[in-house]
Structure formats: C-alpha cells, structure tokens
C-alpha cells in the first residue's frame, strides 16, 4: 500500500468537515435566531473535532514535522480536496440548511461504511463521528421540512436553494485514484455504491417538505481534484490569515 494514497485519502475525507465547519463558523453571532446560531456553531465544533482526529492521523503518516495545524492551515487552494458543495456560501438560511442537509445525508451514509474500514484509526473516528452526524442529519432534515412546507416565502427560498445546490451533489460519488487504491485495500469506502440510497433518502425528505426534486442532469465537479469554485480562495484567505501573517504562532 502506498503511504501517499492513504494520506491523500484521509485528506479527501477531512477537508469536507473542515471547510463546512469554517462556513458554519461564519454564522457565529450572525445566525437567524439564537437557537439556530448555537446549533450551527455546535455542528461546526463537531466537524472541527472530527477534522482534528483525521489530521492528527494524517500528520503521523506524513511525518516530516507535519502537524494537524500545518495540514489545516498551510496548504494552497489546489491542495484542498473537499467537494464543491461544502464551500458554497451562506447566501441565506435556506442555502445554509440545504447545503447542510445535502452533506449530512451523504456524511451519515459514508461514515456507516467507514466504520467497517480495515484501518483501525479510520474505523474508530467513524464510530465516534457517526453519533454526532446523526444529530446533524436530524437537525437539517427537520428544517428542510419546516421551511419547505412553511410559508410561501420560505418555500420559494428553499426551492431556490435546492435547485442551485443540486448541481454539486453528484460529485460526492466520484472517486480519485487514491480513493480507488484505498477501496481496493478494504480501507476506503466505495462511494459510488452510496449514490442510489443517497438520492432515495433526500428525495423522500424533499417530498415530505413539498419541494420539487430538480430534474437537471448537469452536475459540477472538480473539488476532489483541487479545482474549486471562486469562493474557496476567500474561505482560505480568512481561515489561513493568522498562520500566514504570523507564521508558527500558537494560542
């Protein structure tokens, strides 16, 4: 097994909670209500905790003085391999919660499988994280129904968000070379196999929410290969500001 493939594979998993956590963290003090503000930052905290576990493990594999912080803060845009979905902006709460929902359902299915990984570290992280993600999934699914089946205005905004973010869902089920190598080793999750159940789950909830399921077959991709949307640079410039301005600073 190539060390590089395992390292890349872990980053491919962990960059998603990292960037989504960063997005949710932006809402701290700016959420639409106190409860949702606290919820979004709580979810961000869970996601950062999971990211730390993955990065600590990745740092050990990499060696050469790598730390969880150097992996999180000192890579360039092209070296981040998160999916495009998680970097999309908090346009309004409908976008925030739809992005969350589309990721949570995937995240849960993914962790369910990662628990069975032959890699004991990844399996342990998955066992821990899935308990937290089941709460995230319930929270976002509940809001999808509440807002989709809410007022005319909330319904309109939710439908907009669903239509807009839909194009980023297919990428969740793409694999990279490192992914394929890890799948062959019994370490990685074959996400291609999760696609059908993913769409049947989200479609069911969208129907309950009386939202229309988009028919578009046109999907965006690139994040898993480091090709990001324009938003990514802004996220990183904020996220990496302290480490770039004061190299090696610690709290």
């Amino acid at each position: 097994m190539e060390k590089k493939d395992l390292y890349n594979y872990i980053l491919g998993i962990a960059d998603n909670p990292l960037i989504l956590g960063q997005r949710l963290g932006e809402l701290c003090g700016h959420g639409p209500s106190l409860e949702t503000d606290i919820a979004c930052t709580n979810i961000a905290l869970d996601l950062f905790g999971q990211t730390r576990s993955y990065f600590q493990y990745a740092a050990k594999i990499k060696g050469e003085n790598a730390t969880e912080d150097s992996i999180a803060f000192l890579r360039t845009e092209r070296e981040y391999t998160n999916v495009l979905l998680v970097e999309q902006p908090n346009t309004d709460f409908a976008f925030t919660i739809t992005r969350q929902f589309l990721f949570d359902v995937y995240h849960y299915l993914f962790l369910e499988q990662l628990q069975k990984s032959k890699d004991v570290n990844l399996s342990a992280i998955a066992h821990k994280a899935i308990k937290e993600v089941s709460y995230h999934q319930r929270f976002s699914s509940d809001w999808i129904k509440r807002l989709g089946d809410g007022t005319d205005e909330s319904k309109k905004r939710m439908q907009n968000a669903v239509n807009d973010l839909w194009r980023y869902t297919d990428e969740l089920f793409h694999t990279t070379e490192s992914d394929e190598a890890m799948i062959a080793e019994g370490i990685g999750v074959d996400v291609k196999k999760l696609k059908n159940i993913y769409y049947s789950r989200i479609n069911k909830i969208l129907e309950d929410a009386r939202l229309e399921i988009p028919e578009s077959k046109w999907f965006q991709k690139g994040g898993k290969h480091g090709l990001h949307t324009e938003y990514m640079g802004y996220i990183l410039s904020e996220m990496q500001y302290m480490q770039r301005t004061y190299p090696n600073m610690t709290w």
Binding site: N42, D46, L47, G49, H127, E132, F139
Partner: protein, 167 residues
C-alpha cells in the same frame, strides 16, 4: 485493579481522579462521566487513557491537564492519551453521575427512542430538574455545549439543559 465495563483504573488512583471534574459541569467527576478508560500506576508514573464525549469537546485538553496536575500533587508523573475507540456513550455515566447532573439542574439522558419522541414532538418524558414535571418541550436540539439540548418546562416555565443521549 478494578474492572468496570472494560475500564481499568488502579484502586489507589480512584481518590485522586475522582476529584477531577468536567470544567463545564463542575459537579460531575470525570470518573462518574465515564471519560477515564484506563489509569495504571507503574512505580511513580501513571498512564491514563481518556475518551472524548464529543469529537470537538474543548474540555478534553483541560481535563488532560487537570489530571496531570492532580497526579503531580501526589508525587506522580503521568502521561494522558486520548483514545477514540470504543466511542463514548451516555451509558457510561454512572448512576451517581446522573444524580449529580439532576441536582445541578441538567436533565440526565434517556434512551435513544425517547430522544426521537422528543424530536418528533411526541410523548413528553424529559423531566424538569427543577419541578420534576414532564410537561416539558425541546427549544433547541443544540445547547450551551455539544453534549446538551435546550428544554423548557411548561409548568414552572424554567428553561433547562438536557444531556443528549449518545449511543
């Protein structure tokens, strides 16, 4: 050596570790919380393994430091390791710990089915730690810390925290 649910803690370390508490829930000892999974004395050196309640729980670093400080007061050097498996569950909170939570004003975790009931606005079963009424409702699934949800009692009107069931 005492063995409780796969936990190994040397007898002579009990009285020391029992005084270390969760910084966010000061009435709850880390032993009652089920966070300490292993504590073994080797000569004057103690090896401790703790497990986080939630991945992002910021209290874990503090708990690790507090353990080292408490042990060094008794003349022991120590190392604290964070372990993820098996993952922590609210089942590991001891009966004494549950009582401490209730006395402190935090409703203790119920079964996962109960949590679901609450979320689906079904049966009202979470007991208000103030007036003991079950006429309570969930205000938010996420509370002041990762491990808690916010509730309100419709009888005495007091808001309170509910320690979420984690299995």
């Amino acid at each position: 050596m005492t063995v409780v649910q796969g936990v190994h803690i040397d007898e002579e370390l009990f009285s020391i570790l029992e005084k270390v508490s969760d910084p966010e829930i000061p009435v709850l000892s880390i032993l009652e919380m089920g966070v300490v999974r292993y504590a073994v004395l080797e000569d004057k050196h103690v090896k401790v393994k703790i497990t986080p309640t939630y991945s992002g729980c910021p209290a874990m670093d503090v708990i690790g430091d507090d353990i080292k400080r408490a042990l060094s007061k008794h003349g022991f050097t120590s190392e604290v390791e964070l372990v993820l498996a098996p993952a922590w569950t609210t089942d590991w909170i001891t009966p004494k710990g549950r009582k401490a939570l209730e006395d402190y004003g935090i409703a203790a975790p119920l079964e996962p089915e109960a949590d679901k009931d609450v979320l689906l606005h079904g049966k009202r079963i979470v007991k208000c730690p103030q007036c003991k009424s079950t006429n309570t409702r969930m205000v938010s699934q996420f509370g002041s810390t990762a491990c808690k949800a916010q509730f309100q009692c419709d009888d005495c009107q007091e808001p309170f925290d509910y320690f979420k069931c984690l299995k």
